[in-house]
Amino acid sequence: MTASSLDIALFSAKLGVVFFVILTLAAYLVFAERKILAWIQDRKGPNRVGPFGLLQPLADLIKLLTKEDFVPASADKWLFYLAPAMAAIPAILIFAVIPFGATLTIFGRPLPLVVTDLNVGLLFFLALSSIAVYGVALGGWASNSKYALLGGIRGLAQMISYELSMGLSLVPVVMLARSFSLTDIVAAQASVPFVVYQPLAFIIFLVSITAECKRIPFDLPEAEGELVAGFHAEYSGMRFGLFFVGEYINIIVLGGLAATFFLGGWHGPLLPPVVWFSVKTLAFAFFFIWMRGTLPRLRYDQLMHLGWKLLTPLALINILVTGWWLALNR
């Protein structure tokens, strides 16, 4: 085996493992969400399929795959087919730039535990998260239904608004790490995680990513109470499943990003790096679920008010203060 083919084999193995782990994790996050929400509501949650209901994701998958794939007669067929993929794929692509462990050495070759270390990794993340808007908007529009259209328009406006505060809250991180590369950002937090220097940016980022993945205080695009299911009201079968899985992949990826930007990524005492990274990521996932069980949905004007009049100015002031601080301590 030559050196380059060994590299390629290692890389493909890494890719396969990452892909498999993320998809499995997303499926089990659905299960975990149902379980934890049940506990919050003093219920037991799914416990029939397999021991403790552990095979429930498999049953869900079979159900979704065997359901009728219904397309409304007046829908825009191609966009209707395309939208779920456009919602799910950017989410999984973002993980390509997240470093999830220290560099390993296998067969005498260094194997960095990141799919690709892009020197504009942070911008790559922002770019893909802005692409994810298309799935919501086009899915809502192509269904040709009132509720879906309303959900799509709401999703569009919400995700554009909160992308701004999300990007601005990451500027101090870049200023502290002096790099766009996520590997460098993690390396810069070897001693102290950035959440210590930037608690405000951390909170703004957390609120913004909650809005980005349309989780419950900000789930206006799919608001069951008012819009039936919002942008995916007309979807069924595995197309709906793709929207659904995309949402949970988004939770994992955004949790991993929050850990990378503010909690020091895979750095941590005692435990191996990969374990630290998973613990931090899953803690964020748990927090999202906990938040879903706790907070009520915002009204639309409150959502826009929070995004434009509170988070964005706060993020800008935070950038200014960080700049001053960095200039004084140079």
Partner: protein, 190 residues
């Protein structure tokens, strides 16, 4: 022109932020405490809760203490039923005692309101705590008289309608317990 200016003192504003944060964190605390609590779920097919004796579920037809049918086919239950799920056909025995030739309750329509049991003058129709009424075929939910009739008195084991007011069936008119003799209309002449 009326100009409305809302003055918010700075202290009140900061107080509001603090109280808002407290409210949100309090919500998180409550959900966390519920997360650690024991669930109240009853695993139904395996664990069953015992219903109270007066639980209103499946309807039965009871018998009097002598073992005869209580139902006199008066149609009051059928009239009281808001969903019209009770139907019957009255008939009369040779001694004038009425009974139901057939008696049918469609449980696929029954709403278990209990109005039939309230309307029944002879305590024949009663409700039991048997709540597991599920069938694969909807026609199996139509209960005939033989399905409804039980060998027992139900809730009141001493009551017998014809003993209280036996219209010539158990004894002569006016001879029942706590029954006044029938008024002879001819003696009421002024």
């Amino acid at each position: 022109m009326f100009v409305y200016i809302r003055l918010t003192p700075r202290s009140a504003f900061s107080m509001r932020i603090i109280s808002d944060i407290q409210a949100i964190l309090g919500g998180f605390r409550v959900t966390l405490s519920h997360m650690l609590r024991k669930p109240v779920t009853i695993q139904y097919p395996e664990e069953k809760r015992t219903p109270y004796p007066r639980y209103r579920a499946r309807i039965v037809l009871t018998r009097d203490p002598e073992g005869g049918e209580r139902c006199v086919a008066c149609y009051l239950c059928s009239a009281a039923c808001p969903v019209d799920c009770i139907s019957m056909q009255s008939a009369e025995q040779a001694d004038g005692r009425r009974y139901a030739a057939w008696f049918r309750i469609n449980f696929s329509r029954c709403i278990f309101c209990g109005l039939c049991a309230e309307a029944c003058p002879t305590l024949a129709i009663q409700m039991t705590p048997d709540y597991e009424i599920c069938k694969r075929d909807i026609m199996d939910l139509v209960y005939e008289k033989e399905d409804l009739l039980i060998n027992g008195c139900g809730k009141d084991s001493s009551y017998n309608f014809y003993r209280q007011a036996g219209i010539g069936v158990a004894r002569q008119r006016g001879a029942g317990q706590e029954e006044t003799p029938p008024v002879d209309v001819r003696t009421l002449m002024p």
